[in-house]
């Protein structure tokens, strides 16, 4: 006997149908592409001012992680139709909230860091991860990424950065038991560890010459900003990318506020600048972020709303979050797809946390 007895040559159509069928069941999860897009855009934006300089690979990677959520707002596969229906300014309540926070920020609780001491900033960022299980179900979760920074009074002294994935997870569209049963793994490639460098330039090696940006608000960069809120607003509008409408301005402001390194005066000016932001409104009066409650102010970019959350008593920036407003059924309206809480303090020794 021989194989030739049963051999039958396929037609072109049969080959084509086999090709079309083979592994045709793959799916693309929107968050995967959203993350990739965010990392790409962040890389480009980081590379832009440094054009012509040596590429700074690890910086980009770190910033890509840190800023991914901020840029995630952009949406990816969806054709964006951002329309704000004309120049509607921030609502009266938003203006009032920001003005009050600005007034309080001036008498700030987070005073200057004395010589030889350190500003401590802890950022608890809950970023979304997602995967498709073997049986085709999509699982999404928020995973806690802790970033602690010790910034010396003199920025040219040594800084310390610690990054840790805490293992804390909040499931978005399933229970922990369901995810467990499906064998979902919540791995992340975010780099963990400890880095030390003068000027907080942990990955760049810029010899303290980094001019700074909204994403990396060095003291020198802060000193170069206008103090007048109207002028500061214009600067924000000039610096923020113009492809996402007014939501991009809030994201840039939040990037700087999130660093925990913004001085009280600048924070006040920034709050006042944001009163000019079209579409900004109070979205929740008692927003709970990781157990801390503040007033949420946000702008909807058409798919998602970006909220910043401010403590009305102290004017402190508590953090931010992103909430689905209309994401084509991917998640229910109101789903929080990321949030970040920021706490700051002053310590005497690098590597120690403030008491209490």
């Amino acid at each position: 006997m021989s194989d030739h007895d049963i051999r039958r040559v396929w037609t072109d159509d049969e080959l084509d149908s086999a090709l079309a069928t083979l592994r045709a069941d793959v799916r693309t999860a929107a968050p995967v592409l959203a993350e990739a897009r965010a990392a790409l855009i962040t890389t480009i934006e980081q590379a832009e001012p440094a054009r012509g300089k040596r590429p700074r690979r690890s910086t980009r990677r770190w910033l890509a992680g840190a800023a991914a959520v901020a840029v995630l707002v952009a949406g990816t596969l969806l054709v964006q139709t951002v329309s704000f229906g004309g120049p509607a300014p921030a609502t009266a309540e938003a203006v009032q909230t920001l003005d009050r926070a600005a007034a309080q920020a001036i008498g700030a609780v987070d005073g200057p860091v004395g010589p030889g001491r350190y500003r401590y900033v802890a950022t608890h960022a809950w970023w979304m991860g997602s995967t498709t299980s073997m049986d085709g179900r999509e699982f999404a979760w928020l995973s806690e990424h802790l970033q602690e920074t010790w910034a010396p009074a003199n920025p040219e002294d040594e800084w310390l950065l610690r990054q840790e994935i805490t293992g804390n997870v909040q499931w978005v569209n399933s229970t922990a038991e369901e995810a467990d049963a499906a064998g979902v793994r919540t791995d992340s490639r975010w780099p963990e560890g400890e880095w030390r460098a003068p000027c907080g330039d942990f990955f760049g090696g810029s010899d303290c010459e980094d001019p700074g940006s909204w994403q990396k608000p060095t003291a020198q960069w802060q000193a170069g900003l206008p103090t007048d809120p109207a002028a500061l607003y214009e600067r924000l509008r000039a610096d923020a990318p113009d492809d996402r409408g007014d939501a991009a301005l809030l994201t840039y402001a939040a990037d700087a506020l999130r660093s925990g390194l913004i001085g009280a005066d600048l924070r006040a000016a920034l709050y006042r600048a944001l009163t000019r932001l079209p579409g900004l409104e109070v979205t929740e009066r008692q927003a709970n972020l990781d157990g801390r409650v503040g007033i949420a102010l946000g702008v909807d970019d058409g798919d998602r709303r970006h909220d910043i959350i401010i403590d009305p008593e102290t004017g402190l920036f508590l953090g931010e979050r992103q909430v689905v407003t209309d994401w084509l059924g991917e998640f229910d309206t109101g789903t929080v797809v990321s949030f970040t809480s920021v706490t700051t303090g002053v310590v005497d020794t690098i590597g120690t946390q403030p008491a209490g």
Partner: protein, 198 residues
Amino acid sequence: MMTEHADGGGASDADDRPDLSGPHPARIFGHLFDRHSGPLHRYLARRVGDLADDLVGETFLIAFQSRAGYDPGRGTARSWLYGIATNLLRRHVRQEVRGLRAAARAAGSAAGAEDHDNRVADQVDASARARLLADALVELEPGDRDVLLLTGWAGLDSNEVAEALGIPVGTVRSRLHRVRRRLRTHASNTEHPRSGDE
């Protein structure tokens, strides 16, 4: 629900062959990403499964970093992107082969009971053939696999495949012809004909 951007057809030449060295790279590459990432991810996922999640981002990062090397006169941005992705896939041939072996072994849907229904039988045939094809793809040279799948899965035409792989278009056509002939005979080797066939 996602919207897959139509790749190619109807788009302007400037869209197909954008100037990637322009002054607003974030906007240019954002647009490039929105246009091509969905289909590219799907193509990569069909070839190497979950690795596609990383590779799609890597492809665009490399594209950005090497944008000076893109010449709109020599090919479409799409060919160029798939060329970059093809290079990345070369590092993951073992993963691809594992995936194809798994696809070849995948349990077939219950045939037989509904053989009288021709449409169902056709579908059963298609998935049975897909398993045989998976087996045969393992045996192909990686370069042959690229030509076949860039055409059959990514939907590139011969010119685009030539641009992507940096080989003459005549070579693409003859290679594709040879690979298809081989698959039509070889892949069907172990197929058992249904009774009453032909």
